[in-house]
């Protein structure tokens, strides 16, 4: 079997970096700047991009490992990665606790007696912290990492099958998605409900990304570049854009036929609604058609900030979650003016880029220069 020797596709890093920025902007509550993010103009958001690319890079890195060193070694590396993400998640939870404890201590207003009840769990930290360690307590905006941990825990057998019978693996993934939908499978959460990102549903996008990395993208090539596919993708994006406009302009809503509304809503993020998948696929088709692999801008300085963030995605993702907490803190404690939103958003992204540069520098001094083709990404062997 041939080794994957192709040079790393910088588009993956670029779009994952951009997705990290968008996730950061969306995670700051009531951030005025988040109107720029794609979730406002259609069905899918940066999460889809992130999960798909992470599936792609995971297959790229561990697919090579599994071919070279066998199932056991590759599985061990995948599980080590899952453990690293778990540790990152617990670290973020500690920051979350600190923020909550501060608010609980400093804020009181009779208007919000009910809402302050959310801080009650501080009274029985024994239960909450254990539930958080079990990944069952779900702090706001901290749902992506538990999803990742689950996706990686299940990835080794999926990868084994992907390397032997890629089509079968993709079909199995789709069947799991369908079964989860039919039977309502998800992971229970604490104190009630289920996981915000259902791993049984979201695995489809991760496996699809992996399938593309292991030769699927090549097989799709003629389809991806056909005018019909492109036309369908554009039409679907236009439709999603129109539907999105009805969310903000009720007057537009009267032009949306009732039968369409009845059939598309609710657009379920938890279970990765098919409309969201189609929206992501349309975006991907258009991207592939207009941003070629050898796009000159990828090597110019303009894309470098996003690319470097995409190359250190675990660390930058965690930093983004922390910066979103901090940004919200600035809004509540310092100023909530529009200018503050712009400054906080821009400096957050600047900090993410700066951190990514520092991480690259660390990597270079710890290892010495290495060819870019074996730089692992978010799902890679190390960050």
């Amino acid at each position: 079997m041939a080794l994957v020797t192709a040079e790393r596709d910088l588009r993956l890093d670029l779009f994952r970096g951009i997705a990290l920025w968008l996730i950061f902007l969306d995670h700051i509550p009531s951030n005025a700047v988040s109107w720029v993010t794609i979730r406002n103009y259609g069905f899918s958001d940066a999460t889809e991009i992130f999960v798909f690319i992470s599936g792609y890079t995971a297959a790229f890195v561990y697919g090579r490992a599994m071919r070279q060193n066998g199932f056991i070694v590759a599985s061990a590396r995948i599980l080590k990665r899952a453990w690293q993400i778990y540790v990152a998640h617990v670290f973020l939870f500690a920051i979350y606790l600190a923020e909550i404890a501060y608010v609980a201590h400093s804020f009181d207003n009779p208007l919000y007696t009910e809402e302050m009840g959310v801080l009650d769990f501080l009274r029985n930290p024994d239960v909450t912290i254990i539930q958080a360690l079990l990944l069952k307590f779900k702090p706001v905006n901290m749902d992506v990492l538990p999803l990742y941990i689950m996706l990686l825990v299940g990835f080794a057998p999926a990868l084994w099958l992907l390397l032997r019978a890629p089509s079968l693996a993709l079909i199995a993934s789709a069947v799991l998605y369908a079964l989860a939908d039919i039977f309502g499978w998800n992971i229970p959460a604490y104190p009630s409900g289920v996981w915000v990102f259902n791993p049984f549903a979201w695995q489809l996008l991760f496996v699809f990304g992996a399938w593309c990395a292991l030769g699927g993208a090549k097989r799709l090539e003629p389809w991806l570049h056909s005018r019909i596919t492109l036309g369908l993708a554009v039409a679907y994006l236009a439709f999603a854009f129109f539907v999105a406009m009805t969310w903000y302009f009720p007057r537009v809503a009267v032009y949306l036929p009732r039968i369409i509304g009845d059939n598309i809503y609710p657009i379920d993020k938890t279970n990765l609604d098919i409309l969201r998948i189609l929206h992501f696929l349309s975006l991907a088709v258009i991207t592939i058609n207009f941003v070629p692999r050898d796009w000159p801008a990828l090597r110019s300085g303009w894309c470098e900030p996003a690319i470097i963030c995409g190359q250190h995605s675990l660390a930058i993702f965690c930093l983004g979650v922390f910066l979103a907490f901090a940004g919200h803190f600035v809004f509540t404690e310092v100023s909530n003016r529009l200018l503050t939103h712009v400054i906080v958003s821009a400096s957050g992204i600047a900090i993410m880029v700066a951190a990514a540069i520092v991480l690259s520098w660390y990597k270079s001094i710890e290892r010495g220069p290495r060819p870019p083709s074996i730089k692992p990404g978010f799902a890679g062997g190390d960050a």
Binding site: V140, F325, N336
Partner: protein, 253 residues
């Protein structure tokens, strides 16, 4: 932003909203007046008003009440009643509350059956969503609970107005309201019934600087004014929706 808010506030005072709002609704309430004009109808409430007796039931959790001794009189259900009495001269308005803090939609839907039997309301004002979001309740169960409550009210001859969660900037990074707010919006659309978008209204006030929701205080002053406005805007929504000559929904005018 404050300047813009002041200008808008002045405009709102000068021109007033379209439609005959109560002349004495304070300007601070009225800046959000347009957010309760969705053109949806409440024919049952209209009939009750025509029959000179409107019976309202408010079903809610902790954000439908204010703490302390005078809390009940300051909270929006009582302000709603007073505003309805004033806006509907000659109509006997009765309002009953079933408000208990920290209840999910499912718990309230379960309590509703008994309320409907006892009160026999023409109109149900149902505030929910906050506690479900705090507990991270299953969204399917949340929407089923809404359907169950609305269905029970309909069977008992009552129309429903849903009231969504408050805008609470301090706890925004701890309570994920998004999914629950969307479900409430969607359920309201499907049943063609009004949704009182308390979140959007309070967000507007925060953006305009009408109220400072960040202030840490035990004082009920601001909370009382906010609830008064919510009561008055709710009354405006009900009165508009029950008006026989109001334009049809699809006109979009």
């Amino acid at each position: 932003m404050r300047t813009r808010a002041a200008v808008l506030l002045a405009l709102a005072v000068l021109t007033g909203p379209a439609g005959p709002a109560r002349a004495d609704m304070p300007a601070e309430c009225r800046v959000a007046r347009h957010l309760v004009e969705d053109g949806l109808r409440l024919p049952g409430a209209a009939a009750a008003i025509a029959a000179k007796h409107l019976n309202v039931l408010v079903l809610g959790a902790g954000s439908s009440v204010l703490p302390g001794k005078g809390g009940v009189n300051l909270a929006y259900p009582e302000r709603l009643r007073l505003a309805l009495v004033e806006a509907l001269p000659g109509v006997a308005v009765t309002l009953t509350t079933d408000v208990t803090p920290h209840r999910t939609a499912a718990q309230m839907a379960a309590a509703l059956a008994l309320d409907l039997e006892k009160v026999k309301p023409d109109l149900l004002v149902w505030q929910t969503g906050t506690v479900d979001a705090m507990e991270g309740a299953d969204t399917d169960e949340f929407s089923q609970a809404l359907e169950k409550g609305i269905g029970a009210a309909k069977a008992a001859g009552a129309e429903t107005v849903l009231v969504n969660a408050q805008y609470s900037p301090r706890t925004e990074s701890m309570i994920a309201l998004g999914n629950y707010a969307e479900i409430m919006r969607w359920v309201a659309v499907q049943h063609e019934m009004p949704l009182f978008d308390r979140f959007a209204i309070m967000k507007l006030w925060a953006d305009f600087g009408t109220f400072d929701f960040f202030s840490a205080t035990k004082n009920l002053d601001m909370a009382g004014r906010v609830h008064d406005c919510i009561g008055q805007l709710l009354a405006a929504l009900v009165v508009d929706a029950a008006k026989p000559e109001a334009p049809p929904v699809s006109g979009g005018q």
